[in-house]
Protein backbone atom coordinates (compact mmCIF):
# COMPACT_ATOMS: atom_id res chain seq x y z
CA UNK A 1 0.00 0.00 0.00
CA UNK A 2 1.25 3.44 -0.92
CA UNK A 3 0.02 5.18 2.24
CA UNK A 4 1.91 8.35 1.46
CA UNK A 5 -0.07 8.69 -1.74
CA UNK A 6 -3.41 8.04 -0.06
CA UNK A 7 -2.53 10.63 2.54
CA UNK A 8 -1.38 13.16 -0.07
CA UNK A 9 -4.55 12.89 -2.15
CA UNK A 10 -6.85 12.75 0.87
CA UNK A 11 -5.45 15.89 2.42
CA UNK A 12 -5.27 17.64 -0.91
CA UNK A 13 -8.98 16.97 -1.38
CA UNK A 14 -9.80 18.05 2.18
CA UNK A 15 -7.83 21.26 1.66
CA UNK A 16 -9.95 21.90 -1.42
CA UNK A 17 -13.06 21.77 0.78
CA UNK A 18 -11.71 24.46 3.03
CA UNK A 19 -10.85 26.60 0.04
CA UNK A 20 -14.43 26.27 -1.17
CA UNK A 21 -16.17 26.41 2.19
CA UNK A 22 -18.98 28.51 0.76
CA UNK A 23 -20.02 25.98 -1.83
CA UNK A 24 -19.13 22.79 0.04
CA UNK A 25 -20.59 23.48 3.46
CA UNK A 26 -22.39 26.76 3.85
CA UNK A 27 -24.69 26.53 0.84
CA UNK A 28 -26.09 23.04 1.64
CA UNK A 29 -26.64 24.11 5.24
CA UNK A 30 -28.53 27.21 4.15
CA UNK A 31 -30.70 25.32 1.70
CA UNK A 32 -31.52 22.71 4.34
CA UNK A 33 -32.41 25.43 6.80
CA UNK A 34 -34.77 26.84 4.17
CA UNK A 35 -36.48 23.46 3.83
CA UNK A 36 -37.04 23.44 7.58
CA UNK A 37 -38.51 26.91 7.53
CA UNK A 38 -40.83 26.14 4.62
CA UNK A 39 -41.81 22.51 5.21
CA UNK A 40 -41.12 22.14 8.89
CA UNK A 41 -42.38 25.39 10.35
CA UNK A 42 -44.71 26.96 7.77
CA UNK A 43 -46.43 23.95 6.24
CA UNK A 44 -45.50 21.34 8.82
CA UNK A 45 -47.42 23.15 11.57
CA UNK A 46 -50.62 22.44 9.64
CA UNK A 47 -49.80 18.78 9.01
CA UNK A 48 -50.61 16.14 11.55
CA UNK A 49 -48.06 13.70 12.79
CA UNK A 50 -46.69 11.15 10.34
CA UNK A 51 -46.08 7.67 11.76
CA UNK A 52 -46.35 9.14 15.23
CA UNK A 53 -43.63 11.73 14.64
CA UNK A 54 -44.15 15.47 14.22
CA UNK A 55 -43.82 16.44 10.55
CA UNK A 56 -40.86 18.76 11.18
CA UNK A 57 -38.93 15.93 12.82
CA UNK A 58 -40.19 13.40 10.27
CA UNK A 59 -38.47 15.15 7.36
CA UNK A 60 -35.06 15.45 9.09
CA UNK A 61 -33.69 12.05 7.98
CA UNK A 62 -34.97 12.62 4.44
CA UNK A 63 -33.39 16.08 4.24
CA UNK A 64 -30.10 14.77 5.52
CA UNK A 65 -30.22 12.00 2.92
CA UNK A 66 -31.07 14.49 0.19
CA UNK A 67 -28.00 16.61 0.99
CA UNK A 68 -25.86 13.57 1.58
CA UNK A 69 -26.66 12.10 -1.82
CA UNK A 70 -26.26 15.26 -3.88
CA UNK A 71 -23.21 16.47 -2.00
CA UNK A 72 -21.28 13.22 -1.94
CA UNK A 73 -21.92 12.78 -5.64
CA UNK A 74 -20.96 16.28 -6.67
CA UNK A 75 -17.97 16.42 -4.34
CA UNK A 76 -16.50 13.17 -5.51
CA UNK A 77 -17.39 13.81 -9.14
CA UNK A 78 -15.72 17.20 -9.14
CA UNK A 79 -12.70 15.90 -7.24
CA UNK A 80 -11.75 13.49 -10.02
CA UNK A 81 -13.27 15.39 -12.96
CA UNK A 82 -11.31 18.57 -12.37
CA UNK A 83 -7.79 17.05 -12.60
CA UNK A 84 -9.00 15.27 -15.71
CA UNK A 85 -10.30 18.54 -17.12
CA UNK A 86 -7.15 20.59 -16.47
CA UNK A 87 -4.83 17.66 -17.22
CA UNK A 88 -3.18 17.27 -13.83
CA UNK A 89 -4.51 13.70 -13.70
CA UNK A 90 -1.34 12.72 -15.59
CA UNK A 91 0.47 12.77 -12.29
CA UNK A 92 -1.77 10.31 -10.49
CA UNK A 93 -1.76 8.09 -13.59
CA UNK A 94 2.03 8.03 -13.73
CA UNK A 95 2.49 7.58 -9.97
CA UNK A 96 3.06 4.24 -8.25
CA UNK A 97 -0.54 4.26 -7.05
CA UNK A 98 -2.99 1.41 -7.52
CA UNK A 99 -6.64 1.99 -8.31
CA UNK A 100 -7.61 0.76 -4.87
CA UNK A 101 -5.46 3.50 -3.36
CA UNK A 102 -6.89 6.14 -5.68
CA UNK A 103 -10.42 5.12 -4.76
CA UNK A 104 -9.68 5.05 -1.04
CA UNK A 105 -8.17 8.52 -1.21
CA UNK A 106 -10.69 10.26 -3.47
CA UNK A 107 -13.81 8.49 -2.27
CA UNK A 108 -12.60 8.60 1.33
CA UNK A 109 -12.18 12.36 1.18
CA UNK A 110 -15.57 12.91 -0.46
CA UNK A 111 -17.27 10.57 2.02
CA UNK A 112 -15.61 12.34 4.95
CA UNK A 113 -16.96 15.64 3.70
CA UNK A 114 -20.44 14.22 3.14
CA UNK A 115 -20.54 12.61 6.58
CA UNK A 116 -19.41 15.85 8.22
CA UNK A 117 -22.00 17.74 6.22
CA UNK A 118 -24.72 15.31 7.32
CA UNK A 119 -23.80 15.90 10.95
CA UNK A 120 -23.76 19.66 10.44
CA UNK A 121 -27.23 19.49 8.93
CA UNK A 122 -28.37 17.35 11.85
CA UNK A 123 -27.05 20.00 14.23
CA UNK A 124 -28.84 22.67 12.20
CA UNK A 125 -32.05 20.66 12.41
CA UNK A 126 -31.96 20.56 16.19
CA UNK A 127 -32.36 24.32 16.13
CA UNK A 128 -35.73 23.97 14.41
CA UNK A 129 -37.26 20.77 15.77
CA UNK A 130 -37.03 18.47 18.76
CA UNK A 131 -35.17 15.35 17.78
CA UNK A 132 -34.62 11.97 19.32
CA UNK A 133 -32.37 9.38 17.80
CA UNK A 134 -33.38 5.90 18.92
CA UNK A 135 -30.51 4.02 17.30
CA UNK A 136 -27.59 6.47 17.08
CA UNK A 137 -25.03 3.89 15.98
CA UNK A 138 -27.25 2.54 13.24
CA UNK A 139 -27.84 6.15 12.19
CA UNK A 140 -24.09 6.76 12.00
CA UNK A 141 -23.64 3.47 10.17
CA UNK A 142 -26.17 4.44 7.50
CA UNK A 143 -24.69 7.92 7.30
CA UNK A 144 -21.19 6.64 6.65
CA UNK A 145 -22.23 3.85 4.32
CA UNK A 146 -24.42 6.13 2.24
CA UNK A 147 -21.66 8.73 2.07
CA UNK A 148 -19.19 6.14 0.84
CA UNK A 149 -21.59 4.57 -1.63
CA UNK A 150 -22.61 7.83 -3.23
CA UNK A 151 -19.11 9.25 -3.20
CA UNK A 152 -18.25 6.17 -5.20
CA UNK A 153 -21.12 6.91 -7.58
CA UNK A 154 -19.83 10.48 -7.86
CA UNK A 155 -16.32 9.23 -8.54
CA UNK A 156 -17.66 7.11 -11.39
CA UNK A 157 -19.62 10.05 -12.79
CA UNK A 158 -16.53 12.24 -12.58
CA UNK A 159 -14.58 9.74 -14.63
CA UNK A 160 -17.38 9.23 -17.11
CA UNK A 161 -18.19 12.91 -17.62
CA UNK A 162 -16.31 14.62 -20.41
CA UNK A 163 -17.92 18.01 -19.96
CA UNK A 164 -19.37 20.09 -17.16
CA UNK A 165 -22.91 19.45 -18.29
CA UNK A 166 -22.64 15.69 -17.81
CA UNK A 167 -21.10 16.34 -14.42
CA UNK A 168 -24.29 18.08 -13.28
CA UNK A 169 -26.66 15.85 -15.20
CA UNK A 170 -26.84 12.88 -12.84
CA UNK A 171 -27.09 14.76 -9.53
CA UNK A 172 -29.68 17.19 -10.88
CA UNK A 173 -31.75 15.05 -13.20
CA UNK A 174 -31.61 11.68 -11.52
CA UNK A 175 -30.58 11.84 -7.88
CA UNK A 176 -32.54 14.90 -6.79
CA UNK A 177 -35.86 13.67 -8.26
CA UNK A 178 -35.28 10.20 -6.85
CA UNK A 179 -34.59 11.68 -3.43
CA UNK A 180 -37.69 13.87 -3.57
CA UNK A 181 -39.83 10.94 -4.70
CA UNK A 182 -38.10 8.55 -2.31
CA UNK A 183 -40.04 9.63 0.72
CA UNK A 184 -37.96 12.57 1.94
CA UNK A 185 -41.11 14.52 2.71
CA UNK A 186 -43.71 11.78 3.10
CA UNK A 187 -44.15 8.22 4.16
CA UNK A 188 -44.74 6.01 1.14
CA UNK A 189 -47.69 4.47 2.97
CA UNK A 190 -49.45 7.77 2.20
CA UNK A 191 -49.36 6.91 -1.53
CA UNK A 192 -52.03 4.97 -3.47
CA UNK A 193 -51.15 1.23 -3.64
CA UNK A 194 -50.04 1.38 -7.30
CA UNK A 195 -47.51 4.15 -6.63
CA UNK A 196 -46.33 2.39 -3.52
CA UNK A 197 -45.23 -0.51 -5.75
CA UNK A 198 -43.63 1.82 -8.29
CA UNK A 199 -41.76 3.59 -5.52
CA UNK A 200 -40.10 0.36 -4.49
CA UNK A 201 -38.04 0.57 -7.69
CA UNK A 202 -36.55 3.81 -6.42
CA UNK A 203 -33.31 2.90 -4.67
CA UNK A 204 -33.39 6.04 -2.54
CA UNK A 205 -36.53 4.78 -0.76
CA UNK A 206 -34.44 2.10 0.94
CA UNK A 207 -31.82 4.57 2.07
CA UNK A 208 -34.29 7.06 3.52
CA UNK A 209 -36.45 4.38 5.11
CA UNK A 210 -33.52 2.75 6.88
CA UNK A 211 -32.19 6.08 7.98
CA UNK A 212 -35.55 7.12 9.36
CA UNK A 213 -35.81 3.85 11.26
CA UNK A 214 -32.54 4.71 13.01
CA UNK A 215 -34.14 7.96 14.17
CA UNK A 216 -37.70 7.00 15.06
CA UNK A 217 -37.93 3.23 14.83
CA UNK A 218 -40.49 3.48 12.01
CA UNK A 219 -39.79 2.57 8.42
CA UNK A 220 -41.48 1.96 5.06
CA UNK A 221 -39.48 -1.18 4.35
CA UNK A 222 -37.78 -3.48 6.88
CA UNK A 223 -34.49 -2.02 8.03
CA UNK A 224 -32.57 -5.14 7.09
CA UNK A 225 -33.73 -4.72 3.49
CA UNK A 226 -32.52 -1.12 3.59
CA UNK A 227 -29.18 -2.27 4.87
CA UNK A 228 -28.94 -5.00 2.24
CA UNK A 229 -29.80 -2.60 -0.61
CA UNK A 230 -27.20 -0.07 0.55
CA UNK A 231 -24.65 -2.85 0.52
CA UNK A 232 -25.73 -3.87 -2.98
CA UNK A 233 -25.24 -0.29 -4.27
CA UNK A 234 -21.84 -0.14 -2.65
CA UNK A 235 -20.77 -3.41 -4.27
CA UNK A 236 -22.11 -2.35 -7.66
CA UNK A 237 -20.11 0.89 -7.39
CA UNK A 238 -16.95 -0.99 -6.48
CA UNK A 239 -17.37 -3.36 -9.41
CA UNK A 240 -17.80 -0.49 -11.87
CA UNK A 241 -14.72 1.29 -10.50
CA UNK A 242 -12.74 -1.93 -10.81
CA UNK A 243 -13.78 -2.22 -14.43
CA UNK A 244 -12.88 1.43 -15.10
CA UNK A 245 -9.36 1.03 -13.83
CA UNK A 246 -8.84 -2.34 -15.48
CA UNK A 247 -9.74 -0.99 -18.88
CA UNK A 248 -8.41 2.52 -18.33
CA UNK A 249 -11.82 3.79 -19.45
CA UNK A 250 -11.70 7.59 -19.96
CA UNK A 251 -8.45 7.72 -18.03
CA UNK A 252 -5.88 6.22 -20.36
CA UNK A 253 -5.73 6.42 -24.10
Amino acid sequence: MNFHAIRAIYFYEMARTFRTLMQSVISPVISTALYFVVFGAAIGSRIEQVDGVSYGAFIVPGLMMLSLLTQSISNAAFGIYFPKFVGTIYEAMSAPVSYVELVIAYVGAAATKATALGLIILATATMFVDLEIQHPFVMLGFLVMTSITFSLVGFIIGIWADNFEKLQLVPLLIVTPLAFLGGSFYSISMLPPFWQTVTLFNPVVYLISGFRWAFYGVSDVPVIVSFGMTLVFLMAGLLIVRWIFKTGYRLKS
Binding site: N2, H4, A5, R7, A8, I9, Y12, A15, R19, P83, V86, G87, T88, Y90, E91, A92, M93, S94, A95, P96, V97, S98, G248, K252, S253
Partner: protein
Protein backbone atom coordinates in the same frame (compact mmCIF):
# COMPACT_ATOMS: atom_id res chain seq x y z
CA UNK B 1 29.09 4.72 -16.68
CA UNK B 2 27.58 1.25 -16.51
CA UNK B 3 25.81 0.30 -19.69
CA UNK B 4 22.82 -1.41 -18.06
CA UNK B 5 19.59 -0.09 -19.52
CA UNK B 6 17.54 2.53 -17.73
CA UNK B 7 14.70 1.91 -20.13
CA UNK B 8 14.40 -1.13 -22.32
CA UNK B 9 11.61 -1.29 -24.86
CA UNK B 10 10.98 -4.23 -27.14
CA UNK B 11 8.32 -4.90 -29.71
CA UNK B 12 6.20 -2.04 -28.41
CA UNK B 13 3.25 -1.02 -30.51
CA UNK B 14 0.17 1.05 -29.97
CA UNK B 15 -2.90 1.04 -32.15
CA UNK B 16 -5.72 3.34 -31.12
CA UNK B 17 -9.35 2.26 -31.25
CA UNK B 18 -9.84 4.22 -34.46
CA UNK B 19 -7.15 2.10 -36.10
CA UNK B 20 -4.44 4.75 -35.99
CA UNK B 21 -1.05 3.15 -35.49
CA UNK B 22 0.74 5.58 -33.22
CA UNK B 23 3.67 3.25 -32.55
CA UNK B 24 4.79 0.41 -34.79
CA UNK B 25 7.07 -2.12 -33.17
CA UNK B 26 9.49 0.06 -31.23
CA UNK B 27 12.74 -1.39 -29.94
CA UNK B 28 14.79 1.02 -27.93
CA UNK B 29 17.32 0.86 -25.16
CA UNK B 30 18.24 3.88 -23.10
CA UNK B 31 21.41 3.63 -21.07
CA UNK B 32 21.75 4.60 -17.46
CA UNK B 33 23.00 8.10 -16.92
CA UNK B 34 22.77 9.31 -20.48
CA UNK B 35 20.86 12.19 -21.97
CA UNK B 36 18.80 10.78 -24.77
CA UNK B 37 17.06 13.08 -27.19
CA UNK B 38 14.06 11.77 -29.03
CA UNK B 39 13.52 13.80 -32.15
CA UNK B 40 10.62 13.76 -34.48
CA UNK B 41 8.12 15.95 -36.26
CA UNK B 42 4.74 16.70 -34.72
CA UNK B 43 2.58 13.60 -34.48
CA UNK B 44 5.52 11.23 -34.90
CA UNK B 45 4.69 9.37 -31.69
CA UNK B 46 7.07 10.99 -29.22
CA UNK B 47 4.47 11.74 -26.57
CA UNK B 48 2.71 8.40 -27.10
CA UNK B 49 6.01 6.61 -26.59
CA UNK B 50 6.63 8.47 -23.33
CA UNK B 51 3.02 7.86 -22.31
CA UNK B 52 3.39 4.10 -22.65
CA UNK B 53 6.47 4.11 -20.43
CA UNK B 54 4.91 6.34 -17.78
CA UNK B 55 1.52 4.67 -17.61
CA UNK B 56 -0.58 7.27 -19.43
CA UNK B 57 -1.11 5.19 -22.54
CA UNK B 58 -1.91 1.50 -22.58
CA UNK B 59 0.40 -0.29 -24.98
CA UNK B 60 -1.28 -2.65 -27.46
CA UNK B 61 1.67 -5.01 -27.23
CA UNK B 62 5.35 -5.38 -26.42
CA UNK B 63 7.25 -4.95 -23.18
CA UNK B 64 8.80 -1.99 -21.43
CA UNK B 65 11.26 -2.31 -18.58
CA UNK B 66 12.26 0.62 -16.41
CA UNK B 67 15.41 -0.17 -14.50
CA UNK B 68 14.58 -3.84 -15.03
CA UNK B 69 10.97 -3.56 -13.83
CA UNK B 70 8.09 -4.26 -16.16
CA UNK B 71 6.03 -1.06 -16.26
CA UNK B 72 2.74 -2.97 -16.29
CA UNK B 73 3.21 -5.96 -14.01
CA UNK B 74 5.60 -4.21 -11.63
CA UNK B 75 4.21 -0.73 -12.10
CA UNK B 76 5.01 0.35 -8.57
CA UNK B 77 8.70 -0.43 -8.71
CA UNK B 78 8.94 0.97 -12.24
CA UNK B 79 7.08 4.22 -11.68
CA UNK B 80 8.90 4.87 -8.44
CA UNK B 81 12.02 5.31 -10.57
CA UNK B 82 10.47 7.61 -13.12
CA UNK B 83 9.65 11.30 -13.13
CA UNK B 84 7.63 12.87 -15.92
CA UNK B 85 7.44 16.48 -17.01
CA UNK B 86 4.50 16.70 -19.41
CA UNK B 87 4.38 18.86 -22.47
CA UNK B 88 1.31 20.83 -21.45
CA UNK B 89 1.59 23.29 -18.59
CA UNK B 90 -0.98 21.62 -16.40
CA UNK B 91 -1.01 22.92 -12.86
CA UNK B 92 -3.47 23.26 -10.04
CA UNK B 93 -4.06 26.99 -10.05
CA UNK B 94 -4.93 27.48 -6.41
CA UNK B 95 -2.12 25.50 -4.86
CA UNK B 96 1.15 26.99 -3.65
CA UNK B 97 4.45 25.90 -5.16
CA UNK B 98 5.52 24.28 -1.91
CA UNK B 99 2.25 22.41 -1.47
CA UNK B 100 2.10 21.05 -4.98
CA UNK B 101 5.70 19.81 -4.96
CA UNK B 102 5.24 18.20 -1.54
CA UNK B 103 2.03 16.61 -2.81
CA UNK B 104 3.90 15.01 -5.70
CA UNK B 105 6.47 13.54 -3.37
CA UNK B 106 3.74 11.93 -1.30
CA UNK B 107 1.93 10.69 -4.37
CA UNK B 108 5.05 8.82 -5.42
CA UNK B 109 5.22 7.12 -2.05
CA UNK B 110 8.03 9.04 -0.41
CA UNK B 111 7.91 10.22 3.17
CA UNK B 112 8.07 14.00 3.55
CA UNK B 113 11.54 15.55 3.33
CA UNK B 114 11.33 19.34 3.59
CA UNK B 115 15.09 19.73 3.33
CA UNK B 116 15.16 17.94 -0.03
CA UNK B 117 12.23 19.96 -1.38
CA UNK B 118 13.90 23.16 -0.21
CA UNK B 119 17.09 22.28 -2.05
CA UNK B 120 15.14 21.28 -5.13
CA UNK B 121 13.25 24.58 -5.23
CA UNK B 122 16.50 26.48 -4.73
CA UNK B 123 18.16 24.58 -7.57
CA UNK B 124 15.30 25.52 -9.84
CA UNK B 125 15.25 29.17 -8.71
CA UNK B 126 11.79 28.66 -7.25
CA UNK B 127 12.62 29.17 -3.60
CA UNK B 128 11.45 32.77 -3.39
CA UNK B 129 8.18 31.74 -5.03
CA UNK B 130 7.50 28.82 -2.74
CA UNK B 131 4.39 30.38 -1.18
CA UNK B 132 3.03 31.80 -4.43
CA UNK B 133 -0.10 30.34 -5.88
CA UNK B 134 0.59 28.60 -9.17
CA UNK B 135 -1.86 30.79 -11.06
CA UNK B 136 0.33 33.81 -10.34
CA UNK B 137 3.40 32.31 -12.00
CA UNK B 138 4.62 32.91 -15.53
CA UNK B 139 4.71 30.09 -18.06
CA UNK B 140 8.44 29.61 -17.55
CA UNK B 141 8.04 29.40 -13.80
CA UNK B 142 5.22 26.91 -14.16
CA UNK B 143 7.51 24.78 -16.30
CA UNK B 144 10.06 24.83 -13.47
CA UNK B 145 7.35 23.82 -11.02
CA UNK B 146 6.49 20.84 -13.21
CA UNK B 147 10.14 19.86 -13.23
CA UNK B 148 10.28 20.22 -9.45
CA UNK B 149 7.18 18.02 -9.14
CA UNK B 150 8.75 15.40 -11.39
CA UNK B 151 11.96 15.42 -9.33
CA UNK B 152 10.24 15.57 -5.95
CA UNK B 153 10.50 11.83 -5.38
CA UNK B 154 14.16 11.63 -6.41
CA UNK B 155 13.67 9.56 -9.58
CA UNK B 156 16.54 7.92 -11.45
CA UNK B 157 14.93 8.46 -14.80
CA UNK B 158 13.42 11.73 -15.95
CA UNK B 159 11.22 12.23 -18.98
CA UNK B 160 11.02 15.76 -20.32
CA UNK B 161 8.39 16.08 -22.99
CA UNK B 162 9.28 19.17 -24.99
CA UNK B 163 10.75 21.01 -22.03
CA UNK B 164 11.47 24.20 -23.90
CA UNK B 165 8.44 24.52 -26.15
CA UNK B 166 7.25 28.10 -25.97
CA UNK B 167 9.96 29.11 -23.54
CA UNK B 168 12.16 32.20 -23.97
CA UNK B 169 15.84 31.96 -24.81
CA UNK B 170 17.10 32.67 -21.33
CA UNK B 171 14.90 30.09 -19.71
CA UNK B 172 15.91 27.60 -22.37
CA UNK B 173 19.56 28.04 -21.41
CA UNK B 174 18.59 27.62 -17.74
CA UNK B 175 16.71 24.49 -18.58
CA UNK B 176 19.73 23.03 -20.33
CA UNK B 177 21.75 23.86 -17.24
CA UNK B 178 19.24 22.01 -15.07
CA UNK B 179 19.42 18.95 -17.30
CA UNK B 180 23.21 18.94 -17.23
CA UNK B 181 23.22 19.10 -13.45
CA UNK B 182 20.83 16.16 -13.33
CA UNK B 183 23.14 14.18 -15.54
CA UNK B 184 26.02 14.95 -13.20
CA UNK B 185 23.96 13.45 -10.40
CA UNK B 186 23.52 10.30 -12.45
CA UNK B 187 19.92 10.82 -13.52
CA UNK B 188 19.00 9.41 -16.90
CA UNK B 189 17.25 12.07 -18.94
CA UNK B 190 15.06 11.39 -21.92
CA UNK B 191 13.85 14.49 -23.66
CA UNK B 192 11.70 14.93 -26.67
CA UNK B 193 12.03 17.99 -28.74
CA UNK B 194 11.64 19.26 -32.20
CA UNK B 195 14.26 21.91 -31.61
CA UNK B 196 17.24 20.19 -33.08
CA UNK B 197 19.74 22.56 -31.55
CA UNK B 198 18.54 21.38 -28.19
CA UNK B 199 19.51 17.81 -28.96
CA UNK B 200 22.71 18.99 -30.55
CA UNK B 201 23.55 20.99 -27.46
CA UNK B 202 22.77 18.44 -24.82
CA UNK B 203 22.23 14.88 -25.94
CA UNK B 204 24.66 12.00 -25.67
CA UNK B 205 22.59 9.98 -28.06
CA UNK B 206 19.86 10.86 -30.46
CA UNK B 207 16.90 8.81 -31.58
CA UNK B 208 14.74 9.87 -34.45
CA UNK B 209 11.13 8.79 -34.54
CA UNK B 210 8.86 9.31 -37.51
CA UNK B 211 5.38 7.94 -38.14
CA UNK B 212 5.57 5.69 -35.11
CA UNK B 213 8.87 4.10 -36.04
CA UNK B 214 12.35 4.61 -34.69
CA UNK B 215 14.27 5.60 -37.79
CA UNK B 216 17.65 5.83 -36.19
CA UNK B 217 19.48 5.72 -32.88
CA UNK B 218 23.04 6.95 -32.81
CA UNK B 219 25.65 8.64 -30.66
CA UNK B 220 25.18 12.30 -31.39
CA UNK B 221 28.84 12.91 -32.29
CA UNK B 222 28.87 9.83 -34.47
CA UNK B 223 25.73 10.95 -36.19
CA UNK B 224 27.13 14.37 -36.84
CA UNK B 225 30.32 12.85 -38.14
CA UNK B 226 28.70 10.22 -40.30
CA UNK B 227 26.01 12.28 -41.85
CA UNK B 228 27.59 15.66 -41.43
CA UNK B 229 28.78 17.19 -44.65
CA UNK B 230 30.90 20.26 -44.70
CA UNK B 231 30.49 23.04 -47.15
CA UNK B 232 32.90 25.62 -48.38
CA UNK B 233 31.19 28.86 -49.35
CA UNK B 234 33.05 31.21 -51.64
CA UNK B 235 31.81 34.72 -52.13
CA UNK B 236 32.77 35.88 -55.55
CA UNK B 237 34.04 39.27 -56.57
CA UNK B 238 32.19 39.21 -59.86
CA UNK B 239 29.00 37.59 -60.91
CA UNK B 240 29.42 34.19 -62.50
CA UNK B 241 26.82 33.25 -65.13
CA UNK B 242 27.64 29.56 -65.13
CA UNK B 243 30.21 27.17 -63.80
CA UNK B 244 33.14 26.83 -66.25
CA UNK B 245 33.58 23.41 -67.90
CA UNK B 246 36.93 22.89 -66.17
CA UNK B 247 35.18 22.97 -62.78
CA UNK B 248 32.02 21.07 -63.62
CA UNK B 249 33.23 17.70 -62.36
CA UNK B 250 33.84 19.07 -58.89
CA UNK B 251 30.13 19.25 -58.18
CA UNK B 252 29.95 22.93 -57.43
CA UNK B 253 26.74 24.79 -56.96
CA UNK B 254 26.10 28.36 -57.86
CA UNK B 255 24.08 30.45 -55.44
CA UNK B 256 23.12 34.03 -54.58
CA UNK B 257 22.51 35.00 -58.21
CA UNK B 258 25.95 33.87 -59.23
CA UNK B 259 27.82 35.63 -56.46
CA UNK B 260 28.44 32.50 -54.41
CA UNK B 261 29.96 29.12 -55.08
CA UNK B 262 29.20 26.21 -52.80
CA UNK B 263 31.53 23.25 -52.58
CA UNK B 264 30.34 20.28 -50.54
CA UNK B 265 32.94 17.86 -49.24
CA UNK B 266 33.41 15.11 -46.76
CA UNK B 267 35.31 16.50 -43.80
CA UNK B 268 36.46 13.04 -42.74
CA UNK B 269 38.03 12.15 -46.08
CA UNK B 270 41.81 11.94 -46.59
CA UNK B 271 41.72 14.49 -49.33
CA UNK B 272 39.02 17.07 -49.19
CA UNK B 273 39.87 18.51 -52.59
CA UNK B 274 39.92 22.06 -51.33
CA UNK B 275 43.47 22.81 -52.38
CA UNK B 276 42.86 21.52 -55.90
CA UNK B 277 39.63 23.47 -56.17
CA UNK B 278 41.30 26.72 -55.20
CA UNK B 279 44.05 26.16 -57.78
CA UNK B 280 41.46 25.47 -60.46
CA UNK B 281 39.53 28.58 -59.53
CA UNK B 282 42.66 30.59 -59.79
CA UNK B 283 43.42 29.08 -63.19
CA UNK B 284 39.90 29.85 -64.39
CA UNK B 285 40.34 33.45 -63.25
CA UNK B 286 37.52 33.34 -60.73
CA UNK B 287 38.27 35.65 -57.80
CA UNK B 288 36.57 35.52 -54.44
CA UNK B 289 36.47 38.14 -51.72
CA UNK B 290 35.58 35.90 -48.80
CA UNK B 291 35.22 32.26 -47.86
CA UNK B 292 33.77 30.30 -44.98
CA UNK B 293 33.00 26.70 -44.11
CA UNK B 294 29.84 25.38 -42.53
CA UNK B 295 28.95 22.03 -41.07
CA UNK B 296 25.51 20.71 -41.70
CA UNK B 297 23.50 20.78 -38.49
CA UNK B 298 21.52 18.03 -36.90
CA UNK B 299 18.52 19.84 -38.27
CA UNK B 300 19.50 19.22 -41.87
CA UNK B 301 20.42 15.64 -41.06
CA UNK B 302 17.06 15.20 -39.50
CA UNK B 303 15.13 16.79 -42.30
CA UNK B 304 16.94 14.56 -44.77
CA UNK B 305 16.17 11.45 -42.77
CA UNK B 306 12.52 12.22 -42.44
CA UNK B 307 12.26 13.13 -46.09
CA UNK B 308 14.00 9.93 -47.18
CA UNK B 309 11.42 7.95 -45.30
CA UNK B 310 8.51 9.55 -47.06
Amino acid sequence: MPTAAAISISGLYKTYDNGFEALKSIDLEIRKGEIFALLGPNGAGKTTLIGTVCGLVQPSGGTILADGHNVITEFRAARYKIGLVPQELTTENFESVWATVSFSRGLFGRSPNPAYIEQLLKDLSLWDKKDNKLMTLSGGMKRRVLIAKALSHEPDILFLDEPTAGVDVELRRDMWQVVRRLKEKGVTVILTTHYIDEAEEMADRVGVINKGEIVLVEEKDELMRKLGRKQLLLQLQDKLEEIPDTLKERGLELASDGYELIFTYDAQAERTGIAGLLEDLNAAGIRFKDLKTAQSSLEEIFVNLVREQQ
